[in-house]
């Protein structure tokens, strides 16, 4: 039957090294295709733009990887990023560049709330984060009055657009640093390993003595933290905070994680993998922009991409009953 075939394909992809190679193949295909359509795609200018565009997604994608590794999901990552941007923008007139601090704390706080509610109330993560997503959206709209907040603060703008190293924008520096740190955490600490264990076999993890609740809270808190950082970097880059910023971010983030090699069923893959997924999605977005594909159409393409990526990588044996 169709579902059996899909399952076999998914298992094949997951288990062979295809899952390692696939994103690189996709990347190559996309780059070549877009270059052929519009050669300026590979111009220096565009590449720099592409990099800057991708950094926020790098952070949010990395953030999204923690819960997905565990077999959960955080639907509030985009709302979190948006809200922290708005919070920062509101503090800038008063404390300038230090506005980043309360903003990031807000992001971290909501992440912590997601984790705590998950553990204390034992609710499925998708409904909790659906709720907090709404709460954060509403808060963002409230604080911003529904329209973008513009600001002019050299110090704050420097956070993203300054250049510590040659002509490389700072946003790239911070994002890549954060990514490297968390990748390292993922691969070389108990935290990273336990996330995979919980996602890959929660029963066994518990039996072995892993404190699942503790790691669940830590994971969601880290997610919030990275989203907070992403929010700050984003508004610094465009010098304004918009409550509607995060519309496509959620889809992009999930797609990046899955394409990178961490399936939604969790237990496999890793934080380091999200990088290539982010690259693929960023190239896709940027390429579509450069090729003058309508943004509305891009939404559709993104949805289809996410769906396909999930369909072909989901570990259905982990889902006894698909609900």
């Amino acid at each position: 039957m169709a579902s059996n075939l899909l399952n076999r394909i998914a298992t094949f992809i997951r288990r062979r090294k295809i899952v390692d190679v696939l994103p690189y193949v996709m990347l190559l295909v996309l780059v070549v295709a877009f270059y052929l359509v519009k050669p300026i795609f590979l111009s220096n200018d565009n590449i720099l733009v592409l990099l800057a565009q991708g950094m926020v997604l790098l952070l949010v994608g990395t953030a999204s990887t923690f819960p997905i590794l565990m077999g959960s999901i955080d639907l509030s990552v985009a709302a979190n990023t948006t809200l922290t941007g708005i919070v920062a923008a509101l503090f800038i007139p008063n404390i300038g560049v230090y506005a980043a601090v309360p903003a990031i704390l807000v992001g971290l706080g909501f992440g912590f709330i997601n984790g705590m509610v998950s553990v204390k109330f034992k609710l499925p993560s998708f409904i909790i984060t659906l709720g907090t997503m709404s709460i954060m959206d509403g808060t963002g709209l409230l604080l911003s009055g529904g329209s973008p907040i513009w600001f002019q603060n050299e110090a704050f703008t420097w956070i993203s657009k300054g250049t510590i190293f040659g002509s490389l924008q700072n946003i790239v520096v911070w994002s890549v640093m954060a990514y490297i740190i968390f990748s390292f955490l993922g691969s070389y600490t108990k935290f990273g390993r336990y996330l995979v264990a919980i996602g890959g076999g929660e029963k066994i993890a518990k039996l072995s003595g892993i404190n699942v609740s503790k790691y669940r809270i830590i994971a969601f808190t880290f997610t919030g933290l990275l989203c907070g950082i992403a929010g700050v970097l984003q508004i610094s880059r465009v010098e304004s905070a918009s409550p509607h910023f995060g519309a496509k971010l959620l889809m992009d983030a999930i797609a990046a994680v899955v394409i990178g090699g961490t399936p939604v069923s969790g237990g496999v893959g890793g934080i380091h993998r999200t990088f290539i997924g982010v690259l693929v999605i960023t190239v896709l977005s940027n390429g579509l922009d450069v090729s003058l594909v309508h943004p509305y159409f891009q939404l559709i393409i993104k949805g289809v991409v996410v769906l396909s990526a999930v369909v072909f990588t989901l570990d259905r044996s982990k889902l006894a009953l698909v609900k």
């Binding site: 108990k190 336990y194 890959g200 072995s208 003595g209 237990g267």
Partner: protein, 515 residues
Amino acid sequence: MPDRREKDTKASILQAENITKSFPGVLALDEVTIEVKQGEIVGIAGENGAGKSTLLNIIAGIYRPDSGLLLLRSEPYSPHNYQQANKNGVFMVFQEQGLVPSLYVYENLFLANEENFISNGILNKKKMIKEAVDAMENLNLKIDPTKLTWSYSFHERQMIEISKAFTLAKIREIEMPLILLDEPTSGLSDVEIEILFEKVKEYSARASFLFISHRLSELIELCDRMYIFKDGKNIKSLETAHTSESDIHEYMVGRKREREFYREDRQITAVGEEIFRVSRLAKDGAFTDISFGLHQKEIVGIGGVVGCGKTELGLCMAGIEKLDQGTITVEGKSIHKVTLKNMMKKGVGYVPGDRKNEGIIGYLPVNWNVTLPSIPDITVWGLPFLNIKRENEITQTFVSKFKIKTPRITTMCYSLSGGNQQKVLMAKWVAKNLKVIILDNPTRGIDVGAKEEIYAILRDLVEQGLSIVLITDDLLELIGLSNRIVIMKDGVITNEFESPPGNKTAENELVKYMV
């Protein structure tokens, strides 16, 4: 086999004294006392439900005994969870594997025990891998710890679990761990079983083993000593060197079978025409060449140890699982496509053995459960509306007929006792006016009184014209209820018996063909 008699003087590693454990409705262990000495391989034999797994789970800290004493190396031992058991050098190789498939082997080996390999919060992977490689070498295993766990076969992963026991024991500086093996051989090929046994014997110089199996030949071959459990009691301790399988059979079974309990007097001897026949049924990996017939008003019993394929056979005959080969004939007409819907249409129903998950729906009321398979039949003027009045009538009929104890017909099923739930489950299928019902372990987990009532119900049904295929682990039930008995072992039929009332086969005769 090397002479192990010197081990008699070895220290005791585990002593379990008068362990009692009960679960709702079932007394799993009744004052059980066993002992394992250092370096021994001790086996536990017994039927399903005899209490073997429960004891192992208690020793591993997963369950806590209601009463009794555990001594580990002569010190009191009462683990509150599995990690505490680990800390004391007790490890279990789980039937459903205690490894996370998506981790690397070395990651699994040290899961939750990485303290020795952490400095400043960072895992020293090189050190872990080296330890793992050393461990594998030490144990003569050709397993590469840097590969992913799922890339190894079931049997190899078992070896990894065993090596996990040794590596963790070494970390905790425990010389001789106690390793519990819970039915390790179900799921292994003969060759793999050989390898497992070789390894266990090899390792018995540095560990003690407690090994559960229902395959007696294995126990005799591998173990120094064995215990026989029956109905939650430890009834015999044997030195395997001087024991034969048939000796063990006698101990394992031989209960007093009361004729009245199974209403044997009501067994119908004058059965009707053949109503159901299966020919050369086969399913890859489960069973082959299964053929038998069922006559009207007959009860044919299918018996065999867990894993012999009878459960899968039941699912295939019901149309729930796919058959690879063979034909099924109902009332002379062969069934084209064996699917659940078709079989139901032709009058064949299936009562699953897993009452809670596959049988009744606890979160729905009794009447909704009883009428579920019959909904297409009780319509209002042929339209897909529900005939609530009829539903309630039907439910009421069965509540009286089967004496189902429930406050109302709209009570939720989860609040009923196991026995009454089973009655609801049976009512569900009887309400459908079928010709043949396939039952899988219809009296599993219910108390004696309810069992009796169910047997009476079965006799009633058969008298009224129903034919039954009875798949069961309960030997006495198998013998007491059936007109004919089919025994399966490793996927094939090993023997058939006539079982007329008054001349029933003895248990150990049957067991011979099961193990």
